[in-house]
């Protein structure tokens, strides 16, 4: 019965353990950080333009690879551009939030994102995202950078290993989901009929959203990479309901974390606005390009790029790269 829970936990928990171990090494390095290099002199619009273009490209690839923009944005921008991680995480959260807000209405109206499923999960995740954001802003930068690198490599592992289940078998809903009446019906065009769904293992799922919330807040990542496996493989929601509800969930989880970054001064409009515009335009183009490309090939490319960004973040955090 707990096979699927264990499968997800086997992937998620080592990420946490690895990040904690590496954090220790990063603490040692924290005592002797390198001198910050002087910023290159450019016209004010130079870096915002680079951000706009890069975010556009990330937006295109994110749609085609089926991942959120934030998970690509934070490691790549913090790893390869001169912005401090504090501001990149703040911008990353606003980017993920804007994407979730834009997608949310359509998904809710179609009945793909489910409000009754999202509300309890969102409460746990958004509360924990606040804690994560506060931890992230309190820890030394190199520690957060190192943890980010380890987490990104963990996400790469999840993307490579995690299975999907179109219509998970949920023979009996658990007591909590029954009392909250978390169940629904959606129209599945591939089989041309309505599909009824219900969930189980709700307490375990809620527990996993504690970790998801903390990580989303700490690193400024959207958390779709973790939401979907938990909703689909642990709770047993159909994959389409899981993906749509996950996207909508981000609009709530990222809101709470975004406020912490905003109130701490870690949001710079000159970074945020080009990033939001770029990634949204990229998403629109990505949807069009998706129809004429092989998503599996794009997905492999994104995993490779994410892997490189994860290693780069890890090395940067440890003072090696």
């Amino acid at each position: 019965m707990l096979e699927k829970v264990l499968r997800v936990s086997k992937i998620l928990l080592p990420v946490f353990i690895l990040t904690v171990l590496i954090a220790g090494a990063a603490h040692v390095y924290a005592a002797h950080p390198p001198e910050p290099t002087a910023p290159a002199e450019h016209a004010w619009w130079f870096w915002p333009l680079i951000l706009l273009i890069l975010s556009f490209v990330l937006g295109v690839f994110a749609v085609m690879a089926g991942v959120g923009g934030g998970v690509l944005y934070v490691p790549i921008v913090s790893g390869f551009l001169p912005f401090h991680l504090d501001f990149v995480r703040g911008a990353g959260l606003i980017v993920a939030l804007a994407g979730a807000l834009a997608a949310g209405p359509g998904l809710l109206r179609k009945g793909m994102a489910d409000l009754r499923l999202a509300i309890p999960m969102a409460l746990i995740a958004s509360s924990c995202a606040i804690v994560g954001a506060m931890i992230g802003l309190a820890l030394p930068t190199n520690v957060v950078q190192t943890l980010l690198g380890a987490t990104i490599l963990g996400i790469v592992a999840i993307m490579l290993k995690a299975k999907k289940s179109e219509f998970p078998n949920v023979p009996q809903p658990d007591a909590l989901s029954q009392s909250l009446r978390i169940m629904g019906v959606y129209y599945e065009p591939t089989i041309k009929k309505d599909v009824q769904w219900q969930i189980h293992r709700t307490p375990i799922g809620l527990g996993l959203f504690v970790f998801i919330g903390v990580m989303a807040g700490m690193f400024g990542l959207g958390a779709g990479w973790a939401n979907v496996p938990v909703l689909n493989l642990v709770l047993g929601a159909p994959i389409k309901i899981s993906v749509a509800t996950s996207k909508f969930l981000l609009s709530i989880t990222d809101t709470s974390a975004a406020w912490i970054y905003l109130n701490n001064g870690a949001v710079l409009p000159l970074m945020v606005v080009p990033s939001v515009i770029g990634i949204m335009l990229g998403s629109f183009v990505g949807v069009k390009v998706l129809a004429i490309t092989k998503p599996s090939l794009i997905r492999i490319m994104v995993i490779v790029v994410l892997g490189i960004a994860g290693v780069k973040a890890l090395l940067k955090g440890l003072g090696i790269g």
Binding site: P82, F83, R109, G111, A138, G265, L268, V273, I277, M280
Partner: protein, 136 residues
């Protein structure tokens, strides 16, 4: 294809849709005002690149910018004006939650009323700045 979305879900979606469109449009408009220099910024545009390379705590110290809701008193500056749509987009979820509560009450859906009220409190606490400001 009939939608199976509930009444609250459709209401939530409609408010979110309108708010998101207004917020994103405002984000672009205020950025144009900022970038075009229609309103002068609190931090000169050319100087921002000197700040975004440093931790947020150093940025706040060196720039003299106050964290939290201080931007609200500085809306005459182009850069601070941009926080208005950002804050609006970040407040949208609270507005949507408030809007669905009457429907949930009518259906005597007590559990979800309680969950929605707690979520609103969580988001208001996060937005209030009560949980500290100022970075590392």
């Amino acid at each position: 294809m009939a939608s199976h979305a509930t009444e609250e879900q459709v209401l939530y979606a409609n408010i979110l849709n309108k708010g998101m469109l207004v917020g994103l449009l405002a984000l672009v408009v205020t950025f144009v005002i900022y970038g075009a220099g229609i309103l002068s910024p609190k931090i000169p545009l050319a100087d921002v690149q000197n700040y975004w390379v440093m931790p947020v705590s150093d940025y706040l110290k060196q720039s003299g910018i106050h964290a939290g809701w201080a931007w609200l008193g500085n809306l005459k500056y182009g850069d601070m004006l941009n926080f208005l749509p950002i804050a609006f987009l970040s407040l949208l979820t609270i507005i949507c939650y408030v809007a669905i509560i009457p429907g949930l009450l009518r259906k005597k859906d007590t559990a979800y009323v309680v969950l929605a009220v707690i979520e609103i409190i969580v988001l208001i606490v996060a937005a209030s700045g009560m949980l500290g400001s100022g970075g590392h």
